[in-house]
Each structure stands twice: as C-alpha cells, then as structure tokens.
C-alpha cells in the first residue's frame, strides 16, 4: 500500500483525467452528472410519493440521501470492472502498482458524490426546509467507512473481471437486485419485521441506514451500528485487497 502513496501523482492524474474527459466538452459540464439523480429522484417521488402514497415525510430528501450514496457504490463497482482490463495496454508495458487503478476509480466517483451533495443540499434546504443538525457530523465517519467498503468490493470485481470477462454483466444484474434490497426508496420502519430481516442480510443496507439516521432522522448512530459498519468495511477491504494482491502478478499476462 505504500507504493500507492508513492504513486499519488498518478492517482491524482487518473482522477482528473476522468473528470476532465467527462465534463470538458459539455456546455453545462458538471451539472450534467446531476441530471440523472435529479430525474430519478423526481420520478420516484412522483410514482411512490404521489401515485402510491408511501407517506414518508420529505420524501424527495429521503430519496436523495439513499440514491446518491447508492450511485457512488454502484457506479464505482461498474467502473471498476474495467479498471484493470481497460488499462491492459499500460499494465503490459510499465511496471506499475496496480492498486492505483481501483483506488482512482473510487476517488473519481467519490468526487462526483461529494459534488452532487454540495449542489443538492441547498436545494433540499430551499424546497423542504431541511436544516443542519449536529447529527450530520456522523456523516463523515460513515462516508469514510463506506468508501473503504466500496474500495474492497471494487478490488474483488476488478480482479474477477480480469479472469472472467462476463463478471461485468453479472455485476450489473446483481446491483439491480441489491438496489431493491436496500432501503433506499422505502423506509425500513414501514416494512414488516420478517422483511426487515431480509434487508439486513444485505450489507449495503447498513450504510444507507447510517446515512439516513445521520442526515434524515437526525439521530446519532448507536455503538452497535458503528461496530457493524466498521466490521463490514474492514472485512470487505481485507477480502478485496488480499484477493487482488494474490492475483495481481498474473494481471499483465491475462489482460
């Protein structure tokens, strides 16, 4: 991991390359990346809030928290299916600590996540009268753990795709399933206890609930919740990192 620090300039350049390429030639630049979550939030608000009347208070704000966090995770994962494979030409020509690619992928998506939050929070303030609370401070440690968890998952996916190319499609389908198994659109308290226990089998739910508690329900996470989040992220990151480092010597031959 120390080599990752030594190559920080490369990571920085990779992240900025992706940001530049994405926004350089479009008139509204970064605002385009908000179009997708805004549209999703609007459509879900209308369908679930007005047509189906789920009755969750400040429903668009509730959706915003879950969807932005989900997008960060899902887009990091989808992008990381190519983070080794698509850099094959580089990997075959230069000795490079390959950890930098998944790390850069996650940081790129983290940048997008944070930018989206910075723009959308004022909107939530204007339209739904959302006011800051001390519990919002819990957002930052949860975010750090969420990033570590996501990085671990990205290591797994990036490695797997090198050996099995269809992991990309598999990941896409798995993410679609997981989306509905995560309490993003529905409030966990509004479903039956037996269904709740199914939702708790999905590790991503704990992060979503953490964000919602801090930013929406305005309660600090309990010690048990913090323990679960720390456990999940440490577990996922170690799993991903061990898998990645054990197989990375074969990447240059396989890509």
């Amino acid at each position: 991991m120390s080599s990752v620090y030594r190559y920080r300039e490369l990571i920085r350049n990779l992240v900025f390359k992706d940001l530049k390429l994405k926004y350089r030639d479009s008139t509204f630049g970064f605002l385009w990346s908000l179009a997708n979550p805004l549209l999703v939030i609007s459509v879900y608000s209308f369908v679930f809030g007005h047509l189906l009347r789920v009755g969750t208070e400040r429903f668009p704000y509730f959706l915003m928290i879950g969807i932005l966090a989900w997008n960060f995770f899902a887009q990091s994962l989808m992008m990381s299916t190519g983070s080794i494979l698509d850099n094959g030409n580089l990997i075959r020509k230069v000795a490079i600590p390959m950890e930098v690619f998944p790390v850069a992928t996650v940081l790129f998506n983290l940048a997008q996540y944070l930018l989206a939050l910075v723009v959308l929070f004022p909107l939530a303030f204007v339209f739904f009268g959302v006011l800051p609370s001390w519990t919002w401070l819990a957002f930052f440690p949860i975010l750090v753990l969420h990033v570590l968890f996501t990085l671990g998952a990205c290591f797994v996916v990036a490695t797997a795709t090198v050996f099995y190319r269809d992991v990309r499609h598999f990941t896409e389908i798995l993410l679609m399933l997981l989306f509905w198994l995560t309490p993003i659109i529905y409030d966990i308290r509004s479903i039956t206890p037996s269904l709740q226990s199914v939702i708790y089998l999905n590790p991503i739910s704990f992060f979503t609930l953490g964000y919602q508690n801090a930013l929406y329900r305005n309660v600090f996470p309990s010690l048990a919740e913090v323990g679960i989040l720390v456990g999940l992220s440490v577990l996922m990151l170690s799993l991903g990192y061990v898998l990645f480092t054990r197989l990375k010597t074969r990447f240059a031959e396989e890509v």
Binding site: E9, L14, I91, K93, A95, Y164, F170
Partner: protein, 249 residues
C-alpha cells in the same frame, strides 16, 4: 562494485489455453460439456537464465522472433513475475522503454499527457515540474502543448513519447525495439541519445533485431534461442552466433 542487475536462474512458463474459458458462463458450460472444456498447455518461454550486470554496462539481448528476449526484459522490468528464479535490481531508478507514449490519452493536451505519462513511471509532481521544460524543448513541440494529442500527427506523438521517455532520467534503462518506429531522422536522434546515455554511465539492457544498433551501444550481448541462453559474451561474437542461428533455418 555491486551489481546493477542480477538475474538468477530465471524461468518463465506461459499457460497456453485452448478453448479459453474466460467467462463464468463458459466455465460453467465446461463442467457439463467436455468439448467446451479449457485445455491448458505449458510453454516455457525462458529456461534458467542467469547473468549479472555492473553499473554502467550495456547488454544487448538478441535472438529470433519468439526466443524470449522481450519476455526477459519484461521480467527484469517487473511487469511479469518469473515462474522460478529471481531478479535483483540495485536500488536505482528503472526506466522501461517498451513502447513510447504509454498511457497517453488522445483527448488530453500535450501538457496534460506529459504529466500523466510521467506519473505512470512514479514521478512526483515536483519531479515532473523539474523535467517538464526539458521534455518540451526536446520534443520541439512548444507551440502544441495546449493542443489535444488527437490532433498531433503520428510523428509528433512519437516525438512527445520519446522526449518524455529519455528525460525521465533513470539509472537503469530497459529498451525494447522502440527505435523501430519513426523515420530515419528520428531513429538517428534516438541512437544518438542512447549513446549519450551510454557515456553518462547508465546501465542499459537493449533488445533489438538490428545487429548494427546493438554493436553501437552494447559491450556485451546475450543470444537467446527457444528460451535458453545460448551465448553470453562480446558483442561481435554474439552477433556472429546470432547470424549462425538465422542461417541455420
């Protein structure tokens, strides 16, 4: 004097896959249908290669196509890991020139590509700031630094790639046939630069098909054939040996 490069009994096997199962789907199908199952074959690309190099030495690697010389270079560079044996490098900065402009992106400008390309070799921002003006001067592309690389001619792209590669200023240089690209003037410039490196006391491993280039740069050469080292010694004798191999087929 301590060695710059130590290659100790290095062997490399590649797995040749027939019916390659590179998807989960084909893996699962292979369980049920023997016909679709992956068959593996071991190919020894390198067999028991050993040699030492002192700092400031230049070694040529020559051999026919598929003799394993590029594989050996990639193992020394740390791109491939050897199946057995090991490579020890002195604590010097290693520059690998296997292809020019590795990691360049067509949508980025010349300047952005220099920063990206240099950081691929592990340079810090400060180090790149220091070499930047030298790279631009060497490439003779000052007025194109804010232009996207896609608008460069292929010659200009090669110039930028080469300018960056030679200004990374490594102590050990691993060079693989990059001189094969570009026109004659460009090749002359490359060779002149290589000789300059030579005089500056850099350690060089040089893979080439051109006996003439190897003769100009290297004091020793190693002839590889079918993954084995068949000769290691004076450049002239090595080239004779190589020509014998070529004549034999």
């Amino acid at each position: 004097m301590s060695t710059a490069i130590e290659v100790i009994d290095v062997s490399k096997a590649f797995i040749i896959r027939h019916n390659r199962a590179n998807s989960l789907k084909s893996k699962v199908i292979g369980i049920f249908h023997k016909r679709f199952r992956e068959k593996r074959e071991r190919l020894w690309a390198l067999k028991g290669i050993s040699f030492n190099m002192l700092p400031g030495e230049a070694l040529g690697l020559i051999g026919r196509n598929g003799s394993g010389k590029s594989t050996l270079l990639k193992i020394i560079a740390g791109i491939y890991s050897p199946s057995s044996g090991q490579v020890r490098l002195s604590n010097a900065r290693v520059g690998t020139m296997i292809e020019l402009g590795v990691g360049f992106h067509p949508e980025l400008t010349g300047e952005e590509n220099i920063y990206l390309g240099a950081s691929i070799y592990g340079l810090s921002r400060k180090e790149i700031d220091e070499i930047y003006s030298r790279v631009v001067a060497f490439s003779e592309l000052d007025s194109f630094m804010d232009t996207s690389l896609k608008n460069y001619s292929s010659g200009m792209q090669a110039r930028l790639g080469f300018a960056l590669a030679v200004n990374l200023d490594p102590d050990i240089l691993l060079v693989d046939e990059i001189l094969a690209v570009g026109d004659e003037a460009f090749q002359r410039k490359c060779m002149a630069r290589m000789e300059q490196f030579r005089r500056a006391g850099k350690t060089i491993v040089f893979v080439s098909h051109s006996a003439e280039d190897v003769r100009r740069i290297c004091d020793r050469a190693c002839v590889l054939d079918f993954g084995s080292m068949v000769f290691l010694g004076k450049t002239n004798e090595a080239i004779d040996r190589y020509h014998m191999l070529l004549g034999a087929t």
